[in-house]
């Protein structure tokens, strides 16, 4: 009796109906579920890093101090996945402080809806956590204008500019969506901040979209909202 006939016999037996078939279906379903879970964790739909400006945008209203590098992190205030980005930044700054205190100023850009009066967009736990970073200051970005200038499309995008305004890094610093842990982006950023060269200048960021397909974080028509720009603390 060859294997094929054994399988054929099993497939026509009552055990197949009561055990084999349900087991096969179940393994297929949970296998697919597992695949979806892992794939979703790494699914990104932001534009390639290359679209980010290689130099500090001249029209940016974010203040950059000359002769000092600047780290900018773009956050959607309510993005749950960006908690991992903030956690990774904490880990990174702690390492830098421990090494040589070469922590650069960090600009936390909170992209909020334009002219939103909803207090729930301000002082969210994510933003509060981000502002606990060493040398962090908040820049409120109603409507996501600055995000657009810098080409940041998803929450958790981190950019590093050097003293002369060259972009050294742009992308994510988590291994997967909302996932903390060792990752290539974080390693590259650390090397750059410690004066070393990095093999990569960015990996895709994984988080909520800062800008809706219908436009930037708009609740009404998008427009200049300079009065809100540059609001730091």
């Amino acid at each position: 009796m060859n294997i094929a006939s054994i399988i054929a016999k099993f497939c026509t037996s009552s055990r197949w109906a009561s055990i084999g078939l349900p087991l096969a279906i179940w393994l297929t379903v949970v296998g697919a579920g597992w695949w979806s879970l892992v794939a979703y964790g790494l699914k990104y739909d932001a534009k390639p890093v290359a679209v980010s400006p290689s130099q500090w945008p001249t029209d940016s209203s974010i203040t950059r101090i000359d002769d000092r590098p600047l780290l900018i992190v773009f956050l959607h205030p309510k993005c749950p996945c960006s908690r991992a980005t903030v956690a990774e930044l904490h880990r990174l700054t702690e390492r830098l402080i421990a090494a040589s205190d070469r922590t650069p100023p960090i600009c936390v850009v909170a992209c909020t809806p334009q002219a939103s009066s909803d207090e729930s967009w301000k002082n969210t736990p994510l933003i509060d956590q981000a502002l606990k970073l060493t040398k962090a200051r908040l820049y409120s970005d109603p409507g996501g204008r600055e995000a657009s200038r810098f080409g940041a499309e998803v929450s958790g995008t981190v950019m590093l500019f050097d003293c002369v305004g060259r972009r050294l890094y742009a992308g994510g610093i988590t291994p997967a969506r909302g996932h903390v842990g060792q990752n290539a982006g974080g390693e590259a950023l650390t090397r750059l901040l410690t004066g070393e060269s990095a093999p990569i200048d960015g990996v895709p960021a994984l988080g909520c979209r800062l800008i809706h397909d219908d436009g930037p974080l708009c609740e009404n028509a998008c427009g200049g909202a300079s009065s809100h720009e540059g609001e730091g603390r």
């Binding site: 055990i19 939103s116 397909d213």
Partner: protein, 716 residues
């Protein structure tokens, strides 16, 4: 005796118990995991709602995919294992699906909690929990899923698990090895636990087996007691019935009275044989069967046995013959008494179960470097034994079929005793049988060294030597000087009378001290020494005599027929042993042999009357002695007259709580009562002694009441 078959049965039962135990563990662990899976599902959903409730696109939100994944993937992970737990508890597929689901839950929970390091411990915790199954195979499945997870991630999404985009293709092996590291310890623990379970199962099986055996033994003993009851009652009824007739039928002539007495004697002998069998079995069970070797003619022994049993065979219409195959040693070195007992058992059995044809004893000598052996085959053409019962017939209280007992009588002890006798004599006993065709019992016994022993090629024409028919009708003790030491007056008088009638010159002493003085002062041929006497007991007196160089035979008289007493007496220096109540023939034979009139190897001991006997209170109880003899009648009457005073003394001692005195009086009553032919008194005396030992006052009072009741019925 445990056979290989029994061991196999115990092993099978142990395997069955182990299987049941394992199934219980599997099913119980299945249920625990069912609860855990549901709990993890709920935790995953709640965690997803808590950590990642929404995903945003600008100001638009939707339910975060983590929530849906927790709901649907978690549900899917639970669904089939729980269904299997419900429908197939304890099945392999159930615990394997549980194992797969459990480690996949690790993936889900790690994802939901944002890859927290702590959540990774779920994998290791899950493996440890899966070890609760005590089935290492579930660990292998779980580990395979973990390895596959890391392998696939390493190929497609290395950054998700290793944090870098281009990891070594073997990095997943490193991760899996740490899981295997834990597996290693868990498998060791599982193996140890499994061994313990196997050991416990074996113990449980052995316990069950022992319980069943004990129950079976109890059942068989119950049947045995019922059978023994029948065996004892039958001759006892005859004895009591004919005794009653003798007592009442004053018109019976001498011939009739002789017939009655013969019947009573036959019944008594049957009872004696029965009790001897039981005592032998008791000795065997306690490993106290003694073999006393001497040289004797095997041919004469076989001829004697054939001669004794031939009448019985002829009554059944069958022939009993014997023959030798090969040379016949003039003598062998063995225990003639035990070999005779063995052969009588085998031949007696063969005759009992043979209705037509013959019983043949075939004897031969087997020479071997390991030792020469005498083989005795007892061949019969009887009913045979079923093959499946052949092993059982050598067990105590067992006959081939319980209905055999009803048809053929017997205690079911004969073959057990015979087998043990054969083993004690350096051989064995085996049987071959064909149902309806007959049986062959083959007994072998060691002969000792036959070097230098004449070997005859033909049958000797006359008995060679040594084996003596112990049953003598009369013995001449003329000129034999006997010192009789016994504190019981009745005993002294009766034994004095019996020995004097045989021609002996008897002096008496009432205690050990007096006996010592007399024995050392005068020239006695034999000393009869009661072992329990006041002032100085028989053991001390015997030791003292031996220490003072007294070399003549000292025969112990004791009411204790059980194990150890003979050895105790021998240790004290006694050269013979007679149990009370004293059998007159045995007394005379022992004295005669001890005095050097004739040597007797090992006279049988008797304990007639040691069985508990009660007499109805409304009937007259007569002495079993021949009280028609004026002298005996006088002694017995004297004893009967002394009984009320003895009872009164016991009563008084009881009121004074003087238990030593009660014991002394009861012992005297027991010895004297038995010797005077009142077994009931002897039995009650023994009971009083037992009550005193146990300080059972209420029981003691009951026995004394019974004694008083019996006293009112005593007659000479």
């Amino acid at each position: 005796m445990t056979s290989e078959f029994d061991d196999q049965q115990v092993s099978q039962r142990a395997a069955q118990i182990l299987h049941q135990h394992e199934q219980q563990i599997y099913a119980r662990t299945d249920r625990m995991f069912a609860v855990l899976l549901v709990g993890q599902w709920a935790a995953a959903v709640l965690g997803a709602i808590w950590f990642t409730p929404r995903t945003w696109s600008g100001s638009q939100w939707s339910v975060h995919p983590h929530v849906w994944l927790a709901v649907f993937l978690g549900g899917a992970l639970c669904a089939l294992p729980i269904w299997f737990v419900w429908r197939r508890p304890g099945a392999v597929v159930t615990r394997q699906s549980v194992a797969i689901a459990q480690v996949l839950f690790s993936t889900l929970l790690i994802q939901i909690t944002g890859g927290r390091l702590e959540t990774h411990f779920h994998v290791f915790g899950s493996l440890a929990f899966l070890a609760a199954y005590r089935d290492w195979r579930v660990l292998i499945s779980a580990t395979a899923v973990v390895a596959a997870d890391h392998f696939i991630r390493g190929v497609y999404w290395p950054q998700s698990v290793f944090g870098i985009y281009a990891s070594s293709p073997w990095r997943w092996v490193e991760h899996s090895t740490w899981v295997l590291f834990e597996d290693l310890f868990l498998i060791i623990v599982i193996r140890q636990t499994t061994h313990e379970m196997q050991s416990m199962s074996m113990q449980a099986a052995q316990l069950q087996d022992a319980t069943e055996r004990a129950e079976a033994a109890n059942r068989i003993k119950g049947e045995f007691v019922a059978n023994m009851s029948h065996e004892i009652r039958t001759p006892l009824n005859a004895i009591l019935g004919y005794t009653e007739i003798l007592a009442r039928d004053e018109k019976a002539d001498a011939r009739q009275r002789r017939e009655y007495v013969d019947t009573i004697r036959t019944g008594g002998r049957h009872l004696l044989e029965l009790i001897n069998n039981i005592l032998d079995l008791s000795k065997i069970e306690f490993g106290r069967l003694q073999v006393e070797r001497s040289r004797f003619s095997p041919h004469q022994l076989i001829a004697d046995v054939a001669s004794v049993l031939r009448v019985q065979a002829q009554e059944r219409g069958i022939s009993l013959e014997y023959r030798w195959e090969g040379p016949i040693p003039e003598t062998i070195d063995s225990d003639s008494h035990r070999l005779r007992q063995l052969l009588i058992n085998l031949v007696g059995n063969a005759i009992k179960f043979t209705h037509q044809g013959s019983v043949i004893i075939v004897a031969r000598i087997a020479r071997d470097v390991a030792g020469d052996q005498l083989t005795l085959e007892v061949q019969d053409t009887g009913i045979g034994i079923p093959a499946d019962r052949l092993d059982d017939i050598f067990k105590s209280f067992v006959q081939a079929d319980s209905s055999m007992t009803r048809c053929y009588g017997g205690t079911g002890l004969g073959l057990t005793i015979s087998k043990n006798l054969a083993i004690a004599l350096g051989g064995d006993l085996s049987v071959e049988s064909q149902l309806g065709r007959g049986s062959v019992f083959t007994a072998s016994v060691a002969t000792g060294d036959l070097e230098g022993v004449p070997l005859h090629q033909t049958l000797p024409t006359s008995p060679v030597s040594d084996v003596v028919d112990l049953r003598i009708k009369a013995a001449n003790l003329a000129g034999v000087r006997v010192l009789l030491a016994d504190d019981g007056e009745t005993n002294r008088k009766l034994m004095n009378l019996f020995l004097t009638r045989e021609g002996a010159e008897v002096s008496t002493a009432a205690d050990g001290d007096m006996a010592c003085r007399m024995a050392l002062g005068e020239n006695f041929d034999v000393v009869l020494m009661d072992m329990q006497m006041p002032v100085m007991d028989g053991y001390a007196a015997t030791r003292k005599l031996r220490e003072h160089g007294f070399e003549r035979p000292i025969i112990a008289l004791t009411a204790h027929a059980m194990r150890g007493d003979r050895e105790k007496c021998q240790d004290a220096g006694c050269s013979g042993f007679i149990t009370k109540p004293v059998n007159v023939d045995e007394l005379v034979l022992q004295v005669r042999a001890a005095a050097g009139v004739e040597r007797i190897d090992d006279a049988p001991t008797s304990s007639v009357g040691s069985a508990k006997s009660r007499c109805p209170s409304d009937s007259i109880v007569h002495s079993s002695l021949p009280t028609s003899d004026a002298q005996i009648r006088e002694i017995v009457q004297e004893f009967v007259d002394s009984v009320p005073a003895r009872i009164e003394a016991i009563d008084r001692a009881l009121r004074e709580s003087n238990y030593d005195e009660i014991s002394r009086l009861a012992h005297g009553l027991k010895g004297a009562g038995g010797t005077a032919g009142y077994d009931g008194l002897m039995s009650l005396g023994a009971q009083i002694e037992q009550c005193v030992v146990g300080r059972e006052v209420d029981a003691l009072k009951d026995v004394i009441d019974e004694l008083k009741s019996l006293n009112s019925t005593l007659a000479v």
